[in-house]
């Protein structure tokens, strides 16, 4: 039983990290109808930026402590993500406004490759560390109830809390601020929003920037856990099934979808894996998404997809 709980917690924590990446997808899709395949590359890019800036800044400014360096690195990385968002809107999105979704999807594929190459050119392609002070030691919970206790990674718990905080802030942003309202209007109907004077271009820059920040947070958490390396993009590919499950337009869906996938992957690997030679994690998420696509394409919380004649 303790083993099961460990696997469960592990899955929940992994799922939380997927959700963080998926959030970025959902944000952009909600506001612009663009499916940003490059979200994964953005996570990697942001993580790389953070890792390297936090390495370089102390050197540039002659700082001693890590904290100020990290804060400055975060700010710099965030600024970089803003520039990125602006460039993407300017160079790519603006020119593809009236194209169908498939074209935009493929454009974001192109952006993925570009960011991949650019990130590694600017920041280098070794494995880098992000050290933001996350606890590295595991703790044991429920030692009284179960023999030996349940092993929990404190870092994961912190990550989950940060993610929850991020979601809360995003929800507040969307619901309570004027910009958030404008974003929701744009998500609903581009033309109507334009006709009441909402500047579409600026909104898209904001959306991509917010998604970029989400990518940065996700990148920091992932990077802190497993080091910043190329395989982050493949991890990000795992976030796609999350949105299928949760629904492309639903923030709670991204969270719940992530948790389901995380737990499902872990449990199926642990319990079914030995029978089929292991490696179920490679395809579990996607096959689950496939099942959803066949029977409930809009996911658990998404809007029904209507095909207009």
């Amino acid at each position: 039983m303790a083993f099961f709980l460990e696997a469960l917690f592990g899955g929940l924590m992994a799922g939380m990290l997927y959700s963080l990446v998926a959030l970025g997808f959902v944000l952009i899709f909600k506001a612009s109808g663009v499916f940003n395949f490059a979200q994964g590359a953005m996570v990697l890019f942001a993580a790389l930026a953070m890792a390297r800036f936090s390495e370089w800044i102390p050197g540039w400014l002659g700082l001693e402590g890590r904290l100020i360096g990290n804060i400055l690195a975060f700010i710099m990385a965030a600024a970089l993500m803003f520039v990125l968002a602006w460039l993407i809107e300017r160079l790519v999105l603006r020119h593809l406004v009236n194209q169908e979704g498939v074209t935009l999807l493929m454009a974001t594929l192109g952006i993925t490759y570009f960011l991949d190459g650019l990130g590694q050119t600017i920041f280098g392609s070794d494995i880098y560390q992000i050290n933001v002070g996350m606890p590295k030691d595991p703790i044991f919970l429920f030692e009284g109830v179960f023999e030996g206790g349940v092993l929990i990674n404190l870092e994961d718990v912190y990550a989950a809390c940060i993610a929850a905080l991020l979601v809360l802030m995003l929800s507040l942003f969307f619901q309570k601020t004027g910009t958030g309202r404008a974003l929701r209007a744009v998500a609903d109907d581009h033309q109507a929003a334009q006709s009441i004077g909402i500047p579409l271009n600026r909104i898209w820059v904001i959306v991509w920037f917010v998604a970029g920040i989400t990518a940065l947070v996700a990148g920091i958490i992932w990077g802190s856990k497993m080091g910043v390396q190329f395989s982050l993009t493949t991890v990000a590919l795992r976030a796609l099934p999350v949105i299928i499950l949760g629904g492309l337009t639903s923030v709670p869906g991204a969270i719940i979808g992530g948790l389901i996938i995380g737990v499902g992957e872990k449990l199926s690997e642990v319990y079914l894996g030995p029978y089929v030679g292991g490696g179920i994690e490679i395809w579990f998420a996607y096959m689950l998404a496939l099942v959803f696509l066949l029977f409930r394409p809009q996911g658990l919380f998404g809007e029904k997809i209507i095909d207009r004649v």
Binding site: Q99, V276, G279, I282, L293
Partner: protein
């Protein structure tokens, strides 16, 4: 003035509908194929065959397959690597497990099994499209990644996980030297390109394009979306599967599942986008581009770097490659969604009226 169609009147529909209606085109294509078959083996060296020509031919074939699905029928697919894998592994198993199985039928069997897998993973296309379909095809990719890695039967239970073939021959003709391998691939590519071109200009091709352009209207004039989409998946997967078999047998001789990973799928998709979606000729352009560019960059960048005093590492070249691909994809999608093929036909248009400007 050289490319004029003056005097070339078509007096029958058969003539009007042939693949290359303009006589000059026909001659040029025949010349190219003749040169490819006779001239190239005499002139090219081993490196050229191994590094450029053979990969180019096989990937062109795969790109034709992908183009049929993505370019002609409008069904996005990120799982082409998986179909190549099915083709390669099933061709391998047919070749190795069945006593006396000749080479060509084994490759075709690989294509056949790829068709089965393709149709199964094509079923979601009846329900969803666009990015949702992309996710479904990724499911195919990852599932096949795992299957060929973990299920021992596919690799004949080898300990290392990689398989190899040797002593390939067709009816007594042993395929050994690079030139022979090249000719073998060339034959496949010419035959399949012809079949594919015939398909896309017949009724089934029009069905595919109708589904791509407006599937509701297509249903109203009596086209069955299910048949059209699944047939596109079937034909496409068959061609890709055969290409996979060729890639494994002829180009690699010994391979692991990683040869057909998601990077391969992206590579094929990029070939189709850059070369031209909905164009058989475009598949060749795209494949040529993607095969040649890395080699070109490998030579050019270090040299250019040395001019300005920078040393360029191989990793840097690879990153630049990524950046160029990404940028090109975006550029083509914005400026010329029909890719190099369209640019080519625009050039031909200009050539027809040359030396006049319009």
């Amino acid at each position: 003035m050289f490319y004029r169609e003056n005097g070339q009147f078509k007096t029958s529909y058969r003539n009007d509908q042939q693949i290359f209606p303009i006589a000059q085109d026909r001659w040029v294509i025949l010349a190219i194929v003749a040169f490819a078959a006779i001239g190239v083996p005499l002139l090219a060296d081993e490196y050229l065959f191994r590094a450029i020509l053979i990969p180019f031919l096989i990937l062109s074939l795969a790109a034709i397959g992908v183009n049929i699905l993505v370019g002609y029928c409008g069904q996005i697919s990120l799982g082409s690597g998986a179909f190549m894998a099915v083709g390669a592994y099933m061709a391998y198993n047919t070749y190795v497990r069945i006593e006396g199985m000749p080479l060509i039928p084994a490759l075709l069997m690989g294509g056949f099994f790829a068709t089965l897998v393709g149709v199964v993973f094509g079923i979601p296309s009846l329900r969803v499209k666009g990015l949702y379909l992309a996710v479904a095809t990724l499911a195919a990719q990852f599932f096949c990644d795992w299957a060929f890695l973990r299920i021992g039967w596919f690799t004949n239970n080898t300990a290392s996980g990689s398989v190899s073939v040797s002593n390939l021959s067709v009816m007594g003709w042993v395929i050994n030297t690079p030139a022979e391998k090249y000719l073998f691939c060339l034959a496949f590519v010419v035959v399949f390109a012809l079949l594919a071109k015939n398909l896309v200009r017949s009724a089934i091709g029009r069905e595919w394009m109708a589904i791509r352009d407006m599937d509701v209207a297509a249903a109203v004039i009596g086209i069955r979306p299910m048949y059209a989409k699944l047939s596109a998946f079937a034909v496409s997967s068959f061609i890709i599967g055969v290409a996979g078999g060729l890639w494994g047998f002829i180009h690699l001789s010994s391979w692991e599942p990683a040869a057909f990973s998601i990077d391969r799928s992206f590579q094929l998709l990029f070939m189709v986008i850059i070369g031209g979606m909905g164009s058989i000729m475009g598949s060749f352009f795209g494949a040529a581009f993607i095969v040649v560019l890395p080699i070109f960059l490998n030579q050019f960048l270090p040299w250019a770097g040395s001019l300005v005093g920078l040393s360029v590492s191989t990793a840097a070249v690879s990153h630049t490659e990524f950046m160029i691909f990404g940028a090109l994809i975006v550029w083509f999608l914005i400026v010329e969604p029909h890719g190099l093929a369209k640019l080519w036909s625009i050039a031909k248009q200009k050539l027809r009226i040359w030396p006049f400007p319009h």
